[in-house]
Amino acid sequence: MADTTVKLCGLLLDNPIIPASGTFGFGDEFKNYYDINILGSFVFKGTTKEPRFGNPTPRIAETPSGMLNSVGLQNPGIDAVIERELPRLARTYKKKIIANISGFSVDEFVYCCEKIDKCDIVGAIEVNISCPNVHNGGMAFGVSAANAANVTKAVKAVTTKPVFIKLSPNVTDIVEIAKACEAEGADGISLINTLVGMRINPRTRKPILANTFGGLSGPAVFPIALRMVYQVAHAVNLPVMGMGGVSTAEDVIEMMMAGATAVQIGAANLVNPYVCKEIIEGLSAVMESYKIKALEELKI
């Protein structure tokens, strides 16, 4: 058996497979399909200070080799997550999780990170400055190096847990933004969030999504994600969690060769609830087929 373990900011993961935020809830739905303790870790649903219903429906549309979503950060709010979701999760999930924190102001990011810092089950924080589906915030922080730097600096001041900044691909220069986060003390970078897109229903002559635009994910975005992970991993001296259309163990290897230390699986979970289990079970054999003995030093 090839060695699938990876080290991510001091966390030793059994494997680099991590379900991405917004595709795995708080783990409940997937517990019905398999023992989620096999995962390297997982990133919980993007959480904000206040509870949010999210955007009007329809929030989902089919695309060639992918999907659009405009969920808009539906979540029960940080207090309910800490009081209700995390204790329930801790009863079945025995590893560290990654908290995904979203916000509409620097203060809100700080508020949530300060609270989640006190949760033992949380091994790292992923700060989402790249949600394309909310106005007046969300992605606004991720499309400017100065704003990204401000958020990074502010959250680093209130937590001792490793902080990953989740970047948007909807920018002219993702490297500049990654470097700005690194300069303010980020412990790692997560990328990519979804690409902004739309579909129109020719019958109704209206956008399919009630929110008009949504975030594109799925295999369609994999080459873009791979390119951006490669660019960022070669420009900063930080671990990178790579994501965007990863659906197979081969994709995972490719993502790690581009420079990712761990790999998140997103949209694939929604169409195949067993996909992370299948990837984890197949990873060792795929590594052996490429004569890979360990996942460190795969970066090309």
């Binding site: 429906t57 329809p58 929030r59 399919i208 799925g218 929604l270």
Partner: protein
């Protein structure tokens, strides 16, 4: 709440045009995860990324029947599949109808009729005689009238253009029945009209675009009087007294 849904491989054994743009498809495979009328399955269709959620119309130990209308590329591809084609399907999704009342009125519109048939069959096996209203745009879209009759239901067909049965909408037939409870499934404007017209409690089955169909993506959430609910997980059937329009 039970979470019995599982992924399995099913073989298409029959695919037949039964009304305008409407197909009846039979899949052979394990149906043990389907526990209630009103539940749905989520089908992986070749060439499509997202699965397609479709209500169960009928099932026995080894087969399930789905009826769907061609509305896009996914349903078109399904309608063209030949017997013997294998499909990856998640079954037993959603919370279906909970049976209540002794004189139920069942109201289905268009492709909202199939889960109503599944319910009528369950009621018939409990020796509860159901009154049924099924509504379509015109006669060439009508299906399953005879099948409801065969269950012993008292059935009225409505068509918007009057080409069969009562001219008008399903709501135009509601006052013709005495009922102590209702169940309905159909397009949202119809559900709202039924909600307003009916005088008893009841259950409404909603349709929504879904990402996963099992509660993970929050794509199909709706607001209810008791907080936001996921149509795929807690629905598609909601109680009349919790619905917000």
């Amino acid at each position: 709440m039970s979470h019995n849904h599982k992924e399995d491989i099913y073989t298409l054994t029959e695919n037949r045009l039964i009304a305008k743009n409407t197909y009846r498809t039979v899949f052979e495979g394990y149906t043990g995860h389907i526990t209630k009328p009103g539940q749905f399955v989520n089908i992986k269709v070749e060439g499509q990324f997202l699965r397609r959620p479709i209500s169960v119309c009928d099932y026995n130990e080894n087969n399930m029947v789905l009826i769907y209308k061609i509305i896009g590329q996914g349903t078109k591809a399904m309608s063209e599949a030949m017997p013997g084609t294998r499909f990856d399907i998640l079954t037993g999704l959603g919370n279906g109808y909970t049976i209540r009342g002794n004189k139920p009125l069942l109201i289905g519109g268009g492709v909202g009729v199939p889960p109503i048939y599944c319910l009528a069959k369950a009621l018939a096996s409990d020796n509860i005689k159901a009154s049924v209203i099924i509504g379509f745009n015109s006669v060439e879209e009508v299906f399953y009238y005879d099948e409801f009759k065969a269950l012993g239901c008292n059935v009225i067909v409505t068509t918007a253009d009057g080409s069969m049965g009562l001219k008008g909408f399903v709501t135009d037939a509601i006052d013709r029945f005495e009922y102590d409870y209702f169940y309905t499934c159909g397009p949202e404007p119809m559900l709202k009209a039924v909600y307003n017209k009916t005088v008893t409690e009841g259950q409404l089955s909603f349709e929504e675009r879904m990402g996963c169909g099992f509660g993970a993506c929050m794509g199909c959430s709706c607001e209810t009087k008791y907080g936001s609910k996921r149509i795929c997980l807690v629905g598609p059937v909601l109680e009349k007294n919790e619905v917000i329009w």
